[in-house]
Every structure is written in structure tokens, then in C-alpha cells.
């Protein structure tokens, strides 16, 4: 019986991917913290995970007719959404540098967590292969 990496690694692979995407978007927000008219963006991590979870577990709602509506929440495909600013600046920039930096660091921590899970999955697989 072959080992399917998709089954073995589960959601963590998708989570790591989504964390990288989010890090990129947040880094871009911070690089443009002083660009006039720039609007801060973000991705909906929860919606993306929900979708990935559904496809991993196989409980996806199937659309068999063109009239069937898309039941996934907006942002599930990793499209960029605009952030609602607390205090937009006068030049139209909506990047709040402190908030973005906090989110970036938090995202980096979550990335490490996902990575640990993935790492332990690999350790488990190794153990199973060795059979010690």
C-alpha cells in the first residue's frame, strides 16, 4: 500500500501555503506604508482553511447544475480583500503600520506552529517506515 502524502500531511500543508501567501500580502502592505492612495489588503485565512478542510475531508458540496450557487464564503479562493481602516490618513493610504506589523509577526508565529505540525507528521512517517 502506497503512502499518500496528501492524506498523511492533512491540512497542515495547505495551512503553510496560506501562511506564506498571507505573509507576502502583509509584507506588501508594510512596504507601501507611505504610498499615497494605497489600500491595505489581506486574505481571509479562515475561509481558505474552511475550503481546504472540506476538500481534504471530502465533504464538499458538489455543484451539479449551473444554477447551483457557490456556498463557500467570499475570500475562500485566496482572493485579496480590502481592509477597513480605523483611521485612514489624509492621502488615502489605509495601512496602519503597527497593526500590520502585529499581524505579520502573528502570522510568522502561526507559520512556525503549522511547520511544527508538519514536521511531526514527517517524524511519525519516518518512525513507521523504520518500524522500530
Amino acid at each position: 500500500m502506497a503512502i499518500s502524502f496528501d492524506n498523511a500531511l492533512g491540512i497542515h500543508e495547505h495551512a503553510l501555503q496560506a501562511r506564506v501567501q498571507r505573509a507576502e500580502v502583509l509584507a506588501n502592505n508594510l512596504a507601501n506604508a507611505d504610498t499615497p492612495g494605497y489600500k491595505a489588503r489581506d486574505i481571509d485565512f479562515q475561509a481558505m482553511m474552511q475550503k481546504a478542510q472540506n476538500s481534504v475531508s471530502g465533504f464538499n458540496m458538489s455543484a451539479t447544475h449551473s444554477g447551483h450557487m457557490d456556498t463557500s464564503s467570499p475570500g475562500a479562493d485566496g482572493e485579496l480583500l480590502y481592509r477597513t481602516p480605523n483611521q485612514p490618513s489624509i492621502d488615502g493610504n489605509t495601512v496602519e503600520a503597527q497593526g500590520e506589523q502585529t499581524r505579520f509577526m502573528r502570522n510568522a508565529m502561526d507559520y512556525q506552529a503549522s511547520f511544527e505540525f508538519l514536521s511531526s507528521k514527517f517524524a511519525g512517517l519516518k518512525k513507521a517506515i523504520k518500524g522500530e
Binding site: A23, N32, D34, T35, G78, L80, Y111, A123, K126
Partner: protein
């Protein structure tokens, strides 16, 4: 789409902020450069920033956000440097070697207080980009250790 892009993004931010710091330094250094005519007088210089879209760099890109023609963006660029058109300072200094026939010299329209605030803002933004780079570096280093334990 990878962690490598973040280095480019943070790098572009650092380049832009150091250019901004450069104009500030030039403005402050020339804050007292007097001249006898309005044309020759130094004017405060300001960089104009603009966001780079990924589709501008690579129109036929694949993957994340590509379907809607919007990537996560690729950092910031300096679109140009504009000279301030604020009024020059005219001072009556007949003893000045550059004074014109009426005894006036022109001083640049550099607002030193404003420049100092600009300097603080740009150095903070620079530091922020450095932080991003360091965090990304440690994320990448972790990936290299995958499956090593």
C-alpha cells in the same frame, strides 16, 4: 509566489525609504544655501511613491490571485522626485556676497521641522522592512530543517 518574494518586497521598501532619507538629508544640508535669483535657489525635494502590481512585472503570471489580474503586489517604487513649489524665503541681507541689487538674498523653501519629522518617519519605515526581512529569513531557515529530526 513564495517566501522569496517577500525579500524583494521588503527590499523595494528599503530602497524607497533610503531614497526618501537621502532627499531629506539633501534638503537639510541645503536649508541655508542662499542665492541671488529665484531660479538658482535650491528647492525642497520630495520623492513620490507608488505601489508595484505583480501584473506589471509579469503579465502572464500563474497562480495566487492571477485569475483576477491582481497579485499580492510586488512592493513599492519611487515614481519620481518633485521639487516643492512653496514660496522661497526672501531676506534683506545687503552685506551678503550673493545679494542682488536691492540687497535681497533668496533662501530655499526647506522646512527643517518638517524634514526632521520626515526623517523619523522614513527611518521607522526602514526598520520595519528590516524586521520583515529578518522574520522571513527565520521562516525560510525553518523550512530548510523540515524532516531533519
Amino acid at each position: 509566489m513564495s517566501l522569496g518574494n517577500i525579500f524583494d518586497i521588503a527590499g523595494s521598501g528599503m530602497t524607497a525609504q533610503s531614497l526618501r532619507l537621502n532627499t531629506t538629508a539633501s534638503n537639510i544640508a541645503n536649508a541655508e544655501t542662499a542665492s541671488s535669483s529665484t531660479e538658482d535657489t535650491y528647492r525642497a525635494r520630495k520623492p513620490v511613491f507608488a505601489a508595484i502590481q505583480q501584473s506589471m512585472l509579469n503579465p502572464d503570471q500563474q497562480g495566487f490571485g492571477a485569475a483576477k489580474g491582481e497579485g499580492p503586489g510586488a512592493g513599492v517604487r519611487v515614481e519620481g522626485i518633485v521639487e516643492s513649489d512653496a514660496e522661497l524665503q526672501m531676506r534683506y541681507e545687503p552685506a551678503h556676497p550673493a545679494a542682488n541689487e536691492d540687497g535681497y538674498v533668496y533662501y530655499p523653501n526647506v522646512n527643517v521641522v518638517e524634514e526632521m519629522a520626515d526623517m523619523m518617519s522614513s527611518s521607522r519605515s526602514f526598520q520595519m522592512n528590516v524586521d520583515i526581512m529578518n522574520a522571513t529569513k527565520s521562516m525560510m531557515q525553518r523550512v530548510l530543517t523540515l524532516g531533519q529530526q
